[in-house]
Amino acid sequence: MISIDNLTKTFDGSKIVALDGVSCKIRSNEVVGFIGPDGAGKTTLLRIVAGILTPDSGNVLINRQSLDFSGKDRDRISARPLSKPPESDLMEEETAHRSAAYLSVRQGDECRHSSTGLTHQKTDYEAFGKMSIGQLQEITSYMPQRFGLYEDLSIIENLNLYANLHNLDNTIKEEVFDRVLAVTKLSQFRKRLAGNLSGGMKQKLGLACALLKKPKILILDEPSVGVDPISRKDLIAMVNSMLDEHTTVLWSTAYLDEAEELDHVILLNDGKVIFEGSPSEAKRCVTNRVYVFADIQEKRRFSAELMKEDGIMDSIIHGNKVRFIKDQDTAVESISKNMGRKFDGVRSPYNIDPAFEDACIDMLGGIVEKRSPLEEYFNTTFYDSGEDGIVNAIHLTKKFGRFVAVDDISFSIKRGQIFGLLGPNGSGKSTTFRMLCGLLKQTAGTARIAGIDISDINSDAKVMIGYMAQKFSLYPILSVRQNLEFFSGAYRIRSQEKKGVINQMLEIFHLTNYQNMNAAVLSLGYKQRLSLACAIMHRPRVLFLDEPTSGVDPITRREFWMHINTMVHHGMSVIVTTHFMDEAENCDEIALIYKGKIRASGTPDDLKDRCRNSETATLEQAFIEIIQDVDEASP
């Protein structure tokens, strides 16, 4: 068992508080998820447990032995026998403790504060001696966020190196390599350099390196970040298949759906533990509070109106459905009645099983901002240009040398629509995206925006486009206001309007208090807001979003999409790439790109209908099935 006792860690002369008195328990032989938005403290916590970061205060106990961060023993220590307390006693005591904790949660009734209910008994933190970092690292494997692979070494050389570093016995080495290569399906690439592998393959190799010597504790820091749903599924399967029951896994992730499949989760926010328990336990708090309105015509306006109702904590668009969470006090009937008054032919909503994300949103306090102030800013409505679509891709092809990245792709996006480009890593979706916004020159075909060929577009016409990049193209050493000033110049906002526009943006995105801070020191959520402000301040007709919300907390993501939906309602068109399936559900049309071609397109519901068991299918299942079909047809 790992007990984390009141850990505090600050950086940058205690200006940045990464961990603020974190206490939690990790039971032996479980897969424990550390979840929370970027900057919540997940990585800091995992690094401390891996012994590569020293906390300011607090304690980590591993099987009742407290980790010795003092540094005297930082070199490898002679294999001093561990003074272990008897394992069986420990387990019993632990179970007793846990049931007590559960009880306190239920008695506490208010699920939101469940973590405060878990007041750990002091005795759990009493140490039975010390464990040095060297001893810890003998029993631990750690995979950092970027996998820790040497890109200029081949797969087998990477494995060999880590095998030696973990003192793997020479006699069994080959056997172990064969086993991990088989599980990861990397056997045929043994000699390929790690740098030439795709994102998903790198990840599997990174994990394989961490699993060579079956560790007692396996620490994985966001192993699935930026990875498509298929690779993510493979990864989870791999961890499960390669571990026996004697391994404790610490798994951090920003994907809440991934956490749902874990035994136990610890939700962090702002360096504090918000929730600790099993996902199903968390979901229990929102049971009978998640409902769905089906077959909604004006889904965006409906969702926006619904949000303004009393007692609504969250509302999102799922295909042609609108899904919402209500608070405990409001009756669903009154919500239904109010909405029925505003919209014709609204059927009463039905109850569905909550997802873990619903629980998280509830625990984080629900959506506070009920309407987007952009409604006033986007007072002008864009009308049809008379063409079929505002964005047209016609037989787009892109070759890099002999490799065909994008192979004859055509589609069109209508006014006031959200178009989603989906696909696994390396499928060609980013290439398509870049050609459409003129960042990359196509090999063949044309891309038109409002009737103008994108390659002919001069910089005057480029003001029709807004672009928000994955890593937020902000200038880190300029202040918030200076960034806005720069982009207002770049997008040719007339100088007499500039000041007004910038002030409006600061107000709409709640940045007024931060206007003189450098963009670099903003939290990720604020960076995202600022870069959205920079991309839309000139009221573009088409907005390009490249994985706009990865790593951002669910509340900020909801606010982000509320802004987008408002602008789309006024006729703006959006083209978005994403790995989040719930964001894909918000699209009017989706194109699933794989191996350079569009493999499926249509509304989210169309795609789900194509599934083998279309009744219960999720978009993720549709995604996986379509890609598997392609792979089977042409392996």
Partner: protein
């Protein structure tokens, strides 16, 4: 320390070096370019420097000396009537210096050459002298003028009589660098520069690269000790430096006929210590700067620039202001430049070699200690 781990890490490092074209480039191609530039491109040999010559004597010897300078390819001599005239021309920038042959020069010269017993100390004031004044605004050229002019004077005297006449100053370096080819004493600086780049620059980048790519984080979370990491970083780059040193030295000797008067033993001794120091500096830079850009800038400031400017390789340490002279003491390059210069041009002067080796060793010990303190198995 475990041998298997060190071996695994070293073999990893070697593979990376082999696959990285830039390290081969830096270790072997760069020295060639540096030596080519110093051999052909950058000439510190002075030729046709405008000088004033004031002959205040009327004897035969003074005429001979005048002819000596006038016929030299180094100087373009203008005979001035008075010291004042010459001074004016120097002040106006038309000439770079003045050679003054004082009154009674010939008389003193002949007296000094033939009229004195060899073991009898001459009376003060009766020595044959010439005065060399050079334009101090360019201390470097001034130093060369002084060296060439006095060297030629000395050589002339020596050709008349083996016993040394004592004149104003004889530049030691010129004395040994008998061919007065600048590549010969630039070689020492070029070698130092090359070793600084291979040793400090490459190692600084290599560790920073591991931080940047996140591999260091994975590495320190494994049961590897600090010493294993340090050793595995030092050994391959040490070997690379030795290869580079041998290569550059052979290249200099074979292509530019740079003399090498010293012994392999002395070279090995001082080079081993200097390379170790260079690599340790590189490692310390990388542990401080965790990205390649900052690391390369750091390596530049700490090694490259001082090697170029403060080692006595291009600019005379003697002609620097005192505070700058004091500053040169802390840079290892100075000691290696002086050692290699001695080894190339003079031979095994053990007093110099051992002194420099001792100072460099002390630096190595200090650096090793600070590296151990800095490089903890911690990501902060």
């Amino acid at each position: 320390m475990k041998l298997t781990i060190v071996k695994a890490l070293i073999s990893k490092e070697v593979k990376q070096i082999k696959r990285d074209a830039s390290s081969v480039l830096v270790a072997f191609i760069l020295p060639m370019i540096v030596l080519l530039i110093f051999g052909y491109g950058v000439s510190f040999n002075i030729e046709n420097i405008k000088m004033e010559l004031v002959n205040l004597d009327s004897g035969t010897m003074s005429n001979k000396i005048t002819d000596l300078y006038a016929s030299s390819k180094y100087f373009n001599i203008n005979k001035a009537a008075t010291t004042e005239d010459a001074q004016e021309r120097v002040e106006s920038g038309e000439s770079q210096g003045i050679i003054i042959i004082p009154e009674h020069f010939s008389k003193k010269f002949i007296h000094g050459l033939y009229g004195m017993q060899t073991n009898q100390r001459p009376i003060r004031g009766s020595l044959p002298e010439i005065q060399i004044i050079s334009d101090g605004t360019d201390p470097n050229t001034a130093a060369y003028i002084e060296a060439y002019a006095s060297g030629m004077f000395y050589q002339y005297c020596a050709s008349l009589n083996k016993t040394k006449p004592q004149i104003l100053s004889v530049n030691n370096r010129l004395w040994f660098n008998s061919t007065t080819e600048s590549i010969n004493f630039l070689m020492s600086g070029a070698l130092t520069m090359i070793l600084s780049i291979v040793g400090t620059f490459l190692t600084a980048l290599v560790v920073a690269k591991e931080w940047e790519r996140g591999t260091m984080e994975a590495l320190i979370a494994t049961p590897v000790s600090i010493w294993e990491i340090i050793i595995s970083k030092i050994v391959p780059y040490f070997v690379l430096c030795i290869f580079s040193l041998v290569f550059s030295l052979l290249y200099g000797i074979l292509v530019f006929n740079v003399p090498f008067q010293g012994s392999i033993l002395a070279l090995t001794l001082v080079a081993t210590v200097f390379i170790t120091v260079s690599i340790l500096i590189g490692l310390i830079i990388s542990t401080t700067a965790k990205d390649q850009f900052v690391a390369s800038m750091g390596a530049m400031v700490v090694t490259f620039l001082p090697t170029f400017m403060l080692s006595g390789f291009v600019f005379e340490i003697k002609s620097m202001p005192l505070w700058l002279q004091c500053l040169t003491v802390i840079f290892p390059a100075k000691y290696f430049v002086s050692s290699i210069r001695t080894l190339c041009l003079v031979g095994d002067v053990w007093s110099i070699i051992l002194e420099n080796t001792a100072i460099l060793s002390a630096m190595a010990v200090f650096l090793m200690y600070s590296l151990k303190k800095k490089l903890r198995k911690n990501i902060e």
